[in-house]
Point group: C2
């Protein structure tokens, strides 16, 4: 596997663009369009929140036939809690793309993120969409990555090439994390392109499994958004024999590359969490079950007390084992060993005398590694989060008004 440039446009058959449509107050890009040279096999995963932006329901109907050809996103207005007008505006976004690009509007995925419960400024949204569609480019991925940012401080973009059954296959992706110019929630968007030739069923399963070990293992603040989505488009232009079997070597190669792409973006999202100064990686090993490992890892990355302790460089492992205890994951508290980086701080559920200076050094790393050895089985999971800082409170205390 090798890293490539050009993000979304590294795979064969994709163009992208991001423009400033003045939906946001500030002079920042806020409309992105991604376009494929042909209809793509497509799959998506969407928020589990009961309150869903109209685009979520819309996209599920777009993907019902397993195909899509374009994605349009705006990052100024979430178009959530906007009722029938919001539904009409989502359709109009898709229709605008379809009209300019001469494609079927039932092949256009729509994403929105931004302020909630406020009508969309559709004149500006549609003008921006037209401008983006007319300037689509093989060099446009970076602009698209910028155009989906809200309170993100850096654009998030990646591309890799991997050998699948003797053929080079490419995967590109952009993502955005938590926060908005007018934040209402921590919407996560990820758009993935690939030129792999893969069956509908295998594509769906690869996305589902990969999201479970990447985006679903990230927490910034525990708030699940109304607009979260991950969508993948596969052009099939790489020329590999179609992947039809999830047990095949080709599928495994593709899955590994897809996991790499999604985990790297997931880590970028956590590291760029609102106000964050550090990435926290929690690794749970030798768990009784995969479910237990996942629950425990996630509970630790979600614990305000653990997150604040990391911010304060305080080797407060009691909060770590406490979060494991209320995670709902099954384990034996009397067997747990805990490590902060290389420093073991607890053994068999009890504290060790450890070097506070060395532990503090581990907590000063750019990535803070917390490892729990449950000595209770063979399952493992890793989750990512960020520290809880004064800036998180500042960012979220007053942005809407």
């Amino acid at each position: 596997m090798e890293l490539l440039k050009n993000g979304l446009c590294a795979p064969q058959g994709f163009l992208a663009q991001g423009v400033c449509a003045e939906i946001k107050k500030k002079d920042k890009k806020d409309v992105a369009v991604i376009f494929a040279a042909k209809r793509c096999r497509a799959a998506g995963m969407f928020t589990t929140n009961k309150v869903r932006a109209s685009c979520i329901t819309y996209n599920q109907s777009v993907l019902a036939d397993g195909y899509a050809r374009a994605i349009v996103a705006n990052s100024g207005n979430a178009n959530a809690c906007t009722g029938p007008q919001g539904e009409a505006d989502t359709r109009l976004m898709a229709e605008t793309v379809a009209r300019v690009l001469h494609i079927d509007d039932a092949d256009v995925i729509v994403a929105s993120t931004g302020v909630i419960g406020v009508p969309m400024p559709m004149d500006r949204v549609c003008a921006g969409i037209k401008q983006a569609c007319r300037t689509l480019s093989v060099g446009g991925s970076h602009c698209a990555a910028e155009a989906i940012m809200t309170t993100d401080t850096v654009p998030k973009e990646i591309a890799v090439q991997v050998d699948v059954d003797g053929h080079p296959v490419r995967i590109g992706a952009i993502a955005k994390g938590s926060g908005m110019i007018h934040p209402n929630m921590a919407t996560m968007l990820s758009f993935i392109t690939t030129d792999v030739n893969i069956s509908q069923e295998c594509l769906r399963q690869a996305l589902r499994e990969s999201v479970d070990v990447s985006y679903n293992m990230v927490s910034v603040d525990g708030d699940t958004s109304t607009n979260d989505m991950v969508v993948i488009l596969s052009s099939g232009l790489a020329g590999n024999p179609e992947i039809k079997d999830v047990t095949s070597a080709g599928y495994q190669s593709f899955r590994e590359a897809l996991d790499y792409v999604n985990i790297e973006l997931a880590k970028k999202i956590a590291r760029d969490g609102e106000g964050a100064t550090r990435l926290i990686a929690v690794e749970v090993v030798n768990a009784r079950s995969q479910d237990a490992a996942r629950r425990i890892a996630r509970a630790i990355t979600t614990s305000n007390l653990t997150k604040a302790a990391v911010f304060g460089e305080d080797a407060n492992w009691g909060r770590v084992i406490c979060a494991a205890g209320y995670s709902g994951g099954d384990f034996d508290p009397d067997k747990v060993d805990i490590y902060l980086g290389e420093v073991q701080v607890a053994e068999n559920g009890m504290g060790l005398v450890f070097d506070e200076d060395r532990a503090r050094q581990e907590l000063q790393q750019e990535t803070v590694r917390i490892r729990l050895n449950l000595k209770d089985g063979s399952a493992a999971a890793t989750a990512w989060g960020c520290d809880l800082t004064h800036d998180y409170v500042t960012i979220n205390a007053s942005y809407r008004t």
Copy 2:
């Protein structure tokens, strides 16, 4: 129902005391003892965390026969994650009380809160226990309330008198909330005394039901401690005919008074949450089910984004409906009306144009009221929480080291 003075000692048959045993670094009270004139019918509810301090398991064996006569608590050391030595120290705390007060050590409830994973300084703990036992007093409730405080800024104490079947019955209680001098988690302790004459089964049920509408509806930071407990002792000295039936008028009168006591203490705990500047009360009405109402109310009080918006006096109702959406409670998002105090901000799941100044005034109240009318049934629930502030981060970033 009328309010009384003397807290724990308002009911007939109870003495209390709180002393400074120098378990905490600072010169603050840290050992409390509560003692009944006779063996009491007793009931307790304990943390659901899988990682449990040794005193939790110990108390469950004490209460197995349904009786207890004393409670001893220290607020300097949680005695959690301390292994067999911790278990021995818990037993020694009970034995020390039993020896001085000439009672059975199987009738002594033990509570601890403070730093985790550190051995107890048993010389000082036992000296403090002896001193407290020897100075027990009918005026000692306030000192006991002070002696269980950790980062609490005010002691939490209450007593009421209520008529039960023509007899005056008294309930007294003290509680502590989140945070410690060396905080590791947000341990909640509540000790309740009463002189009501009530059967074992009715006492247990009353406590269980009352905890469900009070302490179980409070969140400061979503972290369930290893040491949480609520214990009630009933001396039976009020002289009312024994309450034996949960459908009786006597039971109802007692339950109402017990709910009042527990809800008032629960609100004090939330208001005194670490760094909090305001109490948040979330009322969910006309829900499909009690379970849905409880989940939705709790999710909103637990949402970092909602809590930060209250701190910032930002009428960001999108975060409220978003939290309802991921709560797991069933409701129809298109029917939800949302009020901030008296100001309606959303109707049928969509935003209303509202007076930002009036909404901000509601968010400046000492108690911020958020009300959701789900228009979907007849169940209701209220939960309490507090805002998320810079001081919460400061308090929790660096207290251990």
